[in-house]
């Protein structure tokens, strides 16, 4: 373990603060503090070496396949990064006048238009700063809607396969949660659902395709059931990569949805973020969208906040602009044909990898997948689980799949190769998986003790939580 605080020694830092040549305005000592001892004293070269060497301990997409299911770890074009670091955008102050930000406003406006075309929806807000924030916003829209209609609907239905952010977002808006179970085939259990929908049902959230990588075959039926009951249908579009350019969420029957720009529309994931989670809605919901909104009048763009039915503000400024910019670039580069090629290739890649693995690994839901699929450790020698397999994968230079999610499949390994892997890499990954299976039977210790070749050995996460040490002392 290397940490910058350990490299500190008095007098090494020589960061030059420009000299102030004017009058010295003293601030009373009652207001000021002294932080110089709290910060490490290191030189620029030490800083660079520290982080360059640390970086070598990270796995990244630019190195090899990163099949982290549900996260769409695709390769992101380098032109995105170049344009998103243009000072003409990065130095633009959010409170500057609209006249000096016409370029930025136009990008926002046009991206919203593109996303409408892509989703078939009638209104889009880009403001949410991540998928989860989009969900929260979407659920707020549902709340607002029933507040306005005067209906007292207090429940939202979510399948048991849902991503954790769905129930959490629902809870943050004070809704009650009903969980509907999935069939063994991975669809929503329509029978159970029927029994759940009632006058308290504000809506239902469904991920499409689901976190199982499967498209719900009753989607239109579900939409109809909800709509017949006056309930709203929310689509979690985190998996949009599976249907991009191929089918639109509006046509599936959703009223509200969010997208994860950082996944589908190519923002590198930054070790955890930032992202953007635009929300798209049908006509009747447009009026509730948060502010500010970008409006175009006579060729001029401006921010407007005066919308009586809006849920209000949800961000300090206007959301994660630099992420919009990347999505904008990506859509312009690919066009309609390129976007469709994304989903077709993502689905083809996933099915091919599934075909290579399905006879070697347990395949709990035996349906062709969309952009990702689930296998698990069933059939492995006892004691060797998904956890060990995933660590052993690291030894072979790949990232591990998403593990132990979704919860409806025991010891799930959710594999999403994305469209930017070539056939040879998929085959190499399959070979690794098959090798690990063999090892599990022939030399189990090597799997149990994995990883062996990584920058550190297996981290003790239980210990980390038992006595949390959350800062350096």
């Amino acid at each position: 373990m290397e940490i910058i605080f350990n490299k500190s020694k008095k007098g090494k830092n020589s960061y030059a603060v420009p000299q102030w040549k004017g009058k010295d305005y003293q601030l009373d000592g009652r207001y000021t503090g002294n932080t110089s001892l709290l910060l490490p004293d290191v030189g620029e070269s030490e800083l660079v070496r520290h982080y360059v060497n640390l970086s070598k301990k990270n796995f990244c997409v630019d190195e090899n396949m990163y099949p982290l299911g549900s996260c769409t770890m695709k390769y992101n074009p380098k032109i995105n990064e170049k344009l998103a670091s243009d000072p003409g955008f990065t130095s633009l102050h959010p409170h500057c006048d609209c006249e000096s930000s016409q370029g930025a406003l136009k990008i926002i406006y046009e991206l919203e238009e593109y996303l409408k075309k892509i989703t078939g929806m009638k209104g889009v807000t880009l403001l949410p700063a991540a998928g989860s924030h989009g969900e929260l916003t979407g659920v707020m829209l549902i709340k607002k809607h029933f507040e306005k209609t005067g209906e007292n609907r207090d429940t939202i239905i979510i399948p048991d396969s849902a991503h954790g952010t769905n129930p959490a977002s629902v809870a943050m808006c004070g809704f009650k949660l009903k969980e509907v179970k999935s069939t063994p085939e991975g669809d929503v259990d329509i029978k159970s659902l029927e029994g759940m929908i009632d006058k308290n049902t504000a809506g239902m959230m469904l991920t499409s395709p689901g976190t199982t990588g499967l498209f719900d075959r009753n989607i239109k039926k579900i939409a109809k059931m909800l709509h017949d009951n006056g309930s709203l249908f929310y689509g979690d579009g985190a998996n949009l990569n599976a249907t991009l350019g191929k089918a639109r969420f509006a046509d599936m029957g959703f009223d509200i949805m969010h997208m994860n720009l950082h996944k589908t529309f190519s923002t590198p994931h930054g070790g955890g973020g930032p992202g953007a989670g635009p929300v798209a809605v049908v006509e009747s919901m447009v009026k509730y969208l948060p502010v500010p909104r970008v409006v175009k009048k006579g060729g001029q763009y401006s921010f407007e906040t005066d919308f009586p039915d809006t849920i209000g503000r949800i961000h300090s400024f206007a959301g994660n602009f630099l992420i919009y910019l990347r999505a904008y670039v990506y859509i312009r580069l690919l066009g309609a044909s390129g976007l469709k090629d994304v989903s077709e290739t993502a689905v083809l890649n996933a099915n091919y990898l599934l075909a290579l693995l399905k006879d070697e690994y347990n395949w709990p839901i035996k349906r062709r997948c969309m952009h990702e699929f689930i296998i698990n450790d069933k059939g492995f020698p006892s004691g060797i689980t998904t956890d060990h397999i995933s660590k052993r994968i690291l030894d072979y230079g790949f990232h591990a799949p998403t593990v132990f999610f979704p919860l409806i499949v025991e010891h799930s390994m959710m594999i999403e190769p994305t469209e930017t892997e070539n056939r040879e890499t998929l085959e190499k990954f399959a070979d690794v998986m098959i090798t690990i299976k063999k090892e599990a039977f022939e030399t189990p210790a090597i799997v149990l003790d994995a990883p062996h070749n990584t920058p550190i050995r297996r981290a003790d996460v239980v210990q980390a939580a038992r006595t949390p040490v959350l800062k350096w002392e």
Partner: protein, 442 residues
């Protein structure tokens, strides 16, 4: 452009292995009537060179940037080393460090960020980032409410008005009540808290330096400290100009229980308002209540000290509807940048703060000499508000400062100015020249 890599032979071979004859067979589970031939209404694809030229022409429209503008986003010089590090593929093309064995780079840098923020705020725990200052405030209020089981919060009118709007959106959704603490001059009227505070009240929110740039003193002779004690109130202390943390008395010394806000000043550009770098720091008792990711120290199977995500039982992917928040993706790479920035500035951070204070003080003094008048004399850091003077200064025409009128009708004839190390004495003098020549008055 395309970023897929299969040629026709690949596709044929793969389809055969899968056992279908064409790609559309893989979309058989979708309602077939919604399958598109081609999306309508999108522009034709362009080459990398063309999108580069298109965006360059959009970015140029942004060139004339407004001066002396803060109000929640701050122009600071970012040492070149920050982007040099953050633009390494290893950092920016990785994701949440779920697999600590191949993520020590991110984990270490974010652990350093947590440490820096704890040290600067005087708190015990800091999360791995929030979306931005406004949502970090909303989440801090919800965290406090969960902890105190009280559903009312008092918020100073001197808190960033946009943050307060976001807080009311969240509070409306969550069923929390928000009441406003009035101003006295340009700071919070702490003596009014007593009257507003009822048994439902669990927290008081202030910002310091506040929206007007003034330093708040919750510990001063207003009786607030005693009341806070008595009512077991959480003092939620918002910071929008993180650089102030390097120069002013720490929030902990001011009695903060939770510190939240915006750390964009630490190594990230203003970027038209996003991405920003929200954070929540808090006292130890909030450790298991804090939203978002936390990185902790542990050991690996060889017994070496290593870092890993920890206390995940708070989070949505484990706890679902009982989680401390729904946050999942956060502002990861900005936290890494903040760590590099703070390592670069190091012990000079206070000196940099001092330079900000001097520059802003000089600007203020110059403006006063040019016809602006003082509203009150509370001490400030690098931002301050003045009355425009009788003839009416037009901040839009001047391309300078922030007009608070929209949010504070009582300050319709005032302007909020900010100056940082990026503003030189020369640029201030030039601006004052312009003012004196009269061209920027209505």
């Amino acid at each position: 452009m395309k970023y897929t890599l299969l040629n026709n032979d690949d596709k044929a071979l793969m389809l055969k292995k899968i056992g279908v004859s064409k790609i559309d067979d893989l979309f058989a589970d979708l309602p077939q009537d919604i399958l598109l031939d081609k999306l309508d209404g999108l522009p034709e694809p362009v080459s990398e060179m063309e999108i580069h030229d298109i965006l360059k022409s959009e970015s140029c429209k942004n060139c004339s940037s407004r001066m002396f503008l803060g109000a929640g986003a701050y122009n600071h010089y970012i040492p070149a080393v920050v982007d040099d590090i953050a633009s390494r593929s290893e950092f920016y093309t990785a994701y949440t460090p779920y697999q600590p064995e191949v993520s020590q780079g991110t984990l270490t840098a974010v652990f350093e960020f947590q440490t820096y923020m704890c040290r600067l705020t005087g708190m015990d725990v800091t999360n791995a980032s929030m979306y931005d200052g406004a949502t970090s405030l909303a989440e801090a209020v919800m965290m406090s409410a969960r902890s105190s089981r009280k559903d009312k919060v008092l918020v100073s009118r001197a808190v960033n008005p946009i943050y307060r709007e976001v807080l009311s959106t969240y509070a409306w959704a969550a069923g929390l009540k928000v009441a406003e603490i009035p101003l006295k001059g340009l700071t919070t009227d702490f003596s009014a808290v007593k009257k507003l505070c009822d048994d439902e009240t669990g927290a008081v929110v202030i910002q310091s330096p506040n929206f007007f740039g003034c330093i708040e003193e919750p510990d001063a002779e207003s009786g607030f400290t005693a009341l806070k004690e008595e009512k077991k109130l959480d003092l939620i202390y918002t910071v929008t100009e993180a650089l102030s943390l390097g120069f002013l008395k720490s929030p902990a010394e001011r009695g903060a229980d939770i510190v939240c806000g915006e750390a964009q000043s630490f190594g990230s550009p203003v970027s038209f308002g996003g991405p920003m770098l929200g954070f929540i720091s808090a006292k130890e008792r909030f450790t298991r209540k804090i939203p978002g990711r936390l990185i902790g120290l542990t050991v690996d199977s060889d017994g070496n000290k290593v870092f890993a995500l920890t206390l995940q039982a708070r989070e949505q992917h484990i706890r679902r509807e009982k989680a401390t928040s729904n946050i999942c993706s956060n502002e990861g790479i900005l936290a890494v940048k903040a760590a590099v920035y703070l390592g670069a500035a190091g012990p000079q951070l206070g000196k940099l703060g001092k330079l900000n204070h001097n520059t802003a003080s000089y600007l203020r003094e110059s403006l006063l000499s040019a016809g602006f008048s003082s509203i009150s004399d509370e001490p400030f850091f690098n931002e301050f508000m003045l009355r425009n003077g009788k003839s009416g200064f037009d901040s839009a025409a001047a391309g300078a400062g922030f007009d608070p009128g929209k949010y504070y009708p009582e300050f319709r004839d005032c302007t909020l100015f900010c100056a940082t190390e990026t503003d030189t004495m020369q640029s201030i003098d030039n601006f004052i020249e312009k003012i004196k020549s009269g061209s920027v008055w209505k």
